[in-house]
């Protein structure tokens, strides 16, 4: 079709209606933001590129142009920190693209006989629909902006423990005595925690982001998560106060959505990262000198353990246990040494499956670990 500029704009906006309705039904600000981003990207391309370059646009070009726009939208999501789950983002984009095709090829020509010869212009009804879409999107963005969690910048040292009961973003500073998170949509960014029983204690909270937190000198867990879903990125847990300290413990969250631990450095604790009954991905972490195990995925947990660097663990490096299902891939395990207690399951095993656990292994690098890879007590290891 040979679109006029007005036709392109009206057609694009009006055909975004299904995606907008789904976004509204989702009750998530990111969905509104994503629809707005898709519209902005599309309209900018319409004005600056498509209208100038495409005097006539054949139907098939919708596919490559759709891929290009998808790339720009995903890049825009990253740049603008739109916290949309990728699968949902792709689904929403696919819906918008598909509804654009169906509207352009079938619906609009049915509703407005002269749609094609009008260059995609939709007449008064179309203009009103487009206006309604724009107003809804702008109102949604305004709402998202108005109710976004406040950002609090900490300066210097704050005496804790801090208790967070409302969605907010906490940035910077040092908190002594730990932080308790009791609300969803909380983000900690570049906060240092010193001392306390648990460095960060998360209970019953969803969509919690811990980004670049530094934890030192705690007595029990560096990060302690229960009945919650968390995204932990680029953290560090060091200088444990006593022999019982765990780095990160995420437990009893199987029904709370996926959690993730990525890019953390954990040093000298009893267990580095441990999960119980949780869906979790553990990736790109560096864990050294643990006294019990470096990474444990236990008690019917499910998830992946990938691209981690495990050094100098006593007894066991990576442990998949108790009916858990673990995808263990691309990890490097070095220098796992024998626990002097004489337990054969702790004989410097780099990767171990235990007690009805199911683990699949692929492309792991193991060195200086006398126990190698081992399965115990009716568990199963599968190499791919």
């Amino acid at each position: 079709m040979s679109y006029t500029l007005t036709g392109r704009i009206q057609s694009r906006i009006a055909s975004a209606l299904p995606a907008l309705l789904v976004a509204l039904a989702l009750h998530r600000w990111w969905a509104i933001e994503l629809v707005a981003l898709m519209l902005v990207v599309g309209l900018v391309l319409d004005v600056l590129v498509y209208h100038r370059r495409l005097a006539y646009q054949a139907g098939w070009t919708a596919a490559p142009l759709g891929v290009v726009e998808l790339g720009v939208v995903v890049g825009g999501m990253r740049a603008l920190h739109i916290a949309a789950p990728l699968a949902w983002a792709l689904a929403l984009y696919a819906l918008a693209w598909l509804s654009g095709q169906l509207a352009g090829h079938a619906l609009f020509p049915r509703l407005r006989l002269e749609y094609a010869e009008s260059g995609g212009e939709l007449g008064r009804a179309g203009a009103l629909t487009s206006l309604a879409v724009i107003v809804t999107v702008v109102a949604g963005l305004g709402g998202a902006y108005a109710v976004r969690p406040p950002t609090i910048h900490l300066h210097g040292v704050v005496q804790g423990p801090l208790v967070i009961r409302h969605a907010q973003t906490l940035v910077g500073g040092t908190v002594k005595g730990g932080i308790l998170i009791r609300a969803s949509h909380v983000t900690l960014r570049h906060v240092t925690i010193e001392g306390g029983e648990n460095g960060i204690d998360v209970l019953g909270s969803q969509h919690v982001m811990l980004d670049g937190v530094r934890i030192a000198g705690v007595e029990l867990d560096g990060i302690h998560v229960r009945r919650s879903s968390v995204m932990i990125r680029d953290c560090s847990v060091t200088a444990p106060k006593g022999p019982w300290v765990q780095g990160i413990d995420i437990s009893f969250s199987m029904d709370k959505g996926m959690s993730m631990v990525e890019g953390c450095t954990i040093e000298g604790v009893r267990e580095g990262i441990v999960t119980h009954m949780t869906m979790v991905d553990v990736a790109h972490n560096t864990i050294g000198n643990t006294s019990l195990r470096a990474i444990t995925m236990g008690e019917m947990s499910m998830g992946s353990i990938t691209h981690n660097d495990v050094r100098g663990a006593r007894g066991v490096g990576i442990f998949c246990v108790d009916h858990s299902e673990c995808a263990i891939e691309h990890n490097s395990v070095f220098g796992t040494h024998v626990d002097p207690g004489g337990d054969p399951t702790r004989s410097g095993v780099a990767i171990e499956a235990h007690y009805f656990a199911r683990a699949t292994l692929k492309d792991n690098t193991i060195s200086a670990s006398p126990g190698g890879i081992a399965a115990f007590d009716q568990s199963k290891l599968t190499r791919r």
């Binding site: 006029t4 006539y56 054949a58 139907g59 098939w60 919708a62 006989l113 749609y115 010869e117 260059g119």
Partner: protein, 367 residues
């Protein structure tokens, strides 16, 4: 009776179906023309040149809404997505049979018979509140779709047969012209085993449709409508240059025939061809007479009402109406080839619908 359609060909059926889609009852529409079957004149011409595929694409059908197009219908009928893929890549051209079959459906569904009157209108006169047709009426809104005024046959070739008349192929034929009909005839004659001399004045333009695609929409039409009359007439003459679609389906057989010496090109006249190549059957693929002056009804209309005209075209408003005879209570529209001043591809299905939709809008506005 509020509306009248003068003419009973494809453009008339497209207009009638559009009016019916817009909620105008058959009792409010009169269709005047010689053909009870509106596809008949076109069908005969297509059969004469043995046309099997349409030049138009999926939306080249007579139903009011372009969706579902003929590709969708064929896809459903054959239970394959192939026609849809062909359509999105602009490679789908419905068969003539599929087009005519669908046209028959449209005719049957629209109630055409209820409005059709077997009467050839010779005179349209503006009267208060409308138009009289041969003294009958008046009708508030009239759409004239009388079609091509006749076949173009150069003088001095009494033995020649026009491509749009029934004919067979002699062992040696000269085909005059370089447009779609000529190209079709080249292939037909070659397939029949004839040797072909293509007589042309210029190399044919290769383009998928009759005019460049932007001229089918407001994008290209807006600039076209802004042209001064002289420039617009010049543009229309440019666009009337003979053309046929690009593609291997055309090129391969022609190249093969040329390499075998069965296809020759001559820039000259049929007489020169006869002199050079001996006795030849001459087939005139020269299209139709051009200009409203060849159409008695339109010529009379222009003269009687002193309508503005430029060269061979009646000056029309962008919505295909005659400005001097159209106002808040009455409409005179021209569809088909005589409507090129508003829509350069007026002699196509798309052109017929363009005029019909604008006509419907005016009727709805003045109800």
């Amino acid at each position: 009776m509020r509306c009248a359609i003068v003419g009973s060909g494809l453009a008339s059926l497209a207009a009638y179906a559009t009016l019916r889609h817009g909620g105008i009852e058959p009792g409010d529409i009169a269709v005047f023309g010689p053909n009870a079957d509106p596809t008949e004149p076109w069908r005969m011409r297509a059969a004469s040149i043995r046309q099997r595929r349409m030049r138009s694409e999926s939306d080249g059908h007579l139903a009011p809404a372009s969706f579902p197009g003929l590709a969708v219908r064929e896809s459903l009928r054959r239970a394959t997505p192939a026609p849809l893929f062909a359509s999105v890549t602009n490679r789908y051209h419905p068969s003539v049979d599929a087009f005519l079959s669908h046209a028959e459906e449209v005719r049957a569904r629209s109630g055409w018979e209820q409005s059709f009157r077997a009467q050839r209108v010779a005179r349209v006169r503006a009267v208060a509140g409308g138009f009289e047709l041969d003294g009958g009426g008046p009708f508030a809104h009239v759409l004239v779709a009388t079609g091509h005024p006749g076949l173009a046959k150069p003088a001095g070739l009494p033995e020649a047969v026009h491509a749009y008349e029934p004919h067979e192929y002699a062992p040696r034929v000269a085909i005059v012209g370089a447009g779609m009909a000529a190209a079709t005839e080249w292939l037909n004659a070659l397939a029949a085993g004839s040797e072909v001399v293509s007589i042309r004045r210029r190399e044919p333009v290769r383009r998928p449709l009759n005019v460049p695609r932007p001229l089918f929409s407001k994008r290209g039409l807006a600039a076209f409508h802004r042209l001064a009359p002289h420039d617009r007439a010049t543009k229309l003459r440019e666009l009337s240059t003979p053309s046929y679609p690009p593609g291997a389906a055309w090129d391969r057989p022609l190249e093969r025939a040329a390499s075998e010496g069965r296809l020759r090109v001559l820039r000259g006249s049929p007489e020169e061809a006869q002199r050079k190549y001996g006795d030849l059957q001459v087939i005139l693929a020269t299209g139709f007479l051009r200009g409203f002056t060849h159409d008695a009804l339109l010529r009379d209309l222009v003269e009687a009402h002193a309508l503005e005209a430029h060269d061979e075209w009646i000056a029309l408003a962008p919505d295909s109406t005659v400005p001097a005879l159209t106002d808040d209570v009455r409409t005179l529209s021209i569809a088909g080839v005589a409507g090129q001043w508003a829509f350069p591809a007026a002699d196509t299905i798309a052109g017929a619908k363009y005029a019909a939709r604008a006509f419907l809008r005016r009727i709805c506005r003045t109800r």
